[in-house]
Subunit: 323 residues, 2 copies
């Protein structure tokens, strides 16, 4: 079965790491068709819109989308793109790879972040010269949907539910109750952790956690915290999963300081492509790509962010050679 | 001039560390009068109310309040107490002390957390069986008040403004604009950091930050993250400052596992008492208490949380001996 992959480079090093990941995908000789779309600062400059309707439609219609990064317009690109693919969960693994300098080398976590509501639902008002409000939204249905996904994802293991229901009693209380109820129905163990306590505890001992299920903003901040523990955003992939399609993106940004020099580390995007393969059912190929990245990390050429002097292309070829 | 200090032990080790800190304060022979009030789980059990009106009034009428910790009822005690003292800023230093095992020993940060609004303003509704909302509130006036305080606090240095205005455009945008405008008026340098990026960067290199000014929930979570970097909550003091009164509390909780055994570490509470002294104008005494704690940390007896076997009383006496 042929799959149609939307490819959106965006700005900065997105234009270097996305072609690298596409090269890796092409080297696998699968039946994948790649179609390109534009988004980001440069497009906004040229057209007035950071995410043109064609690009939105491209992502909405594709089987999966691979996105690089956007600069100043990041929120105007990524939030509508998550909506285009009807994504209800953002999967953010944060794993410290051997040989990479990490604050907490034993970190190996996966965040399952609710991807549609919380403060991101975005209803804000200026009520007076002095006062603005934001309506934070939590529904049982979105919480349950995330929990159903989580129960399947953990495959017999338990997960942690992270929230701030001691302050946000009705909203995070609803989230917590729904997630725990679904987990109980599936016989999945859960433990509850307040989001502030989680921030302390994950620094002190990341091994006490595995999979973390949390609301949207908590997932944003706590997964970026975990990124700090594993040594930075440079290697972290992510997936935005919907019922019928999905979007994959490195967690890092456009890296304006090195953009255009051909020296960006393509690994986070290649690992995002591995998540894409897994999502499309190519789990064996997905594992091979991940293993190839790990092998190159352990013994192959490295880009400057990892202390080496290889360029993007050398690292990409080394990954392809390992496949 | 005599000062009236409300003393609220609360639950668990609050009943051990508060008497220890009061002993340290008494040893200074200042004109302080201590009046006791009850709050917490045990009071709720007995009276149905976690924070009796008398205790609220006691804190509201005192020149300063020293609070220990509350268990399950923590939010029902601490949030109204912050209100009782009209506190507009929560000061949370996170400093790694020499000789204490820290994830990031170079950490030396102070968070100035907005203490009245954000998601804590607490207006929540269940709008249907499926849907709850929370109204997050940001005002220019509260943001400006925090910023005025911050400009004085940093005493010629700059500070970082941490927010999520790329998503919460009107609310955090209002906060950011107000804080930066006040800082500009005072000739104080600011740099802006998105709260998720802050979480990554502070793990990778805490020395790039000094004073952080942020909304309520951001301050809660990010200061607890910093607590993880300095080795845990055990040594961290905090202050809630209002125009006419203030409340001081260790950041740690009730520690039910060791409560009642007389082995709790009193240092976070003693350091909170040092902040209280400073607030009342006893800055020389405040410095002496802090130095005494540092000396005992470096060469004196230690409680079990720091790898020693001293009890609360031995550590308290050692601090008093250093004064
Ligand atoms: C760019 C921004 C809107 C986005 C978010 O907050 O979700 C980013 O931080 C992320 O986590 O992908
Ligand atoms: C107990 C809770 C309501 C409180 C808060 O969220 O402010 C606590 O976490 C703190 O930071 O003092």
């Amino acid at each position: 079965m042929s799959h149609r992959i939307a490819v959106i480079e965006g700005d900065g090093i997105g234009q270097e790491v996305i072609p690298a990941a596409v090269e890796v995908l092409e080297s696998l000789d699968l039946d994948l068709e790649f179609v390109e779309g534009d988004a980001g600062d440069a497009v906004k400059e040229a057209t007035g819109e950071a995410l043109p309707q064609e690009t939105y439609d491209l992502a909405a219609d594709a089987d999966a989308t691979l996105f690089g990064a956007a600069g100043e317009t990041a929120a105007d690109v990524i939030l509508p793109l998550r909506d285009a693919v009807d994504s209800f969960v953002n999967i953010r693994p944060a794993k410290a790879y051997p040989g990479v300098n990490a604050v907490r080398p034993e970190t190996d976590l996966v965040f399952l972040r609710e991807n549609t509501e919380g403060v991101y639902s975005g209803h804000e008002d200026d009520l007076s010269d002095d006062l603005s409000t934001l309506t934070r939204v939590v529904t049982t249905s979105a919480s349950e949907k995330l929990a159903e996904f989580a129960c399947e994802y953990v495959d017999g293991e338990g997960f942690s539910v992270v929230h701030k229901a001691n302050v946000m009693r009705k909203t995070d209380g609803r989230f917590r109750d729904a997630v725990v109820r679904v987990a109980d129905d599936h016989g999945v163990d859960t433990d509850e952790v307040l989001m502030d306590a989680f921030a302390t505890r994950v620094c002190l001992d990341p091994e006490q956690f595995d999979t973390i299920v949390c609301p949207n903003l908590a997932g944003d901040v706590l997964s970026d915290l975990a990124a700090g523990l594993v040594g930075g955003l440079g290697l972290l992939p992510s997936a935005n999963i919907g019922d019928d399609n999905a979007l994959f993106e490195p967690v890092h940004g456009t890296a304006p300081d090195i953009a255009g020099e051909g020296v960006a580390n393509p690994m986070a995007t290649v690992l995002s492509a591995a998540m894409l393969l897994n999502h499309l059912g190519y789990s064996e190929e997905s594992d091979r790509v991940e293993t190839a990245v790990e092998t190159v990390l352990a013994e192959g050429p490295r880009t400057a962010d990892l202390g080496g002097d290889a360029d993007t292309d050398e690292v990409t070829q080394a990954i392809i050679d390992e496949l």
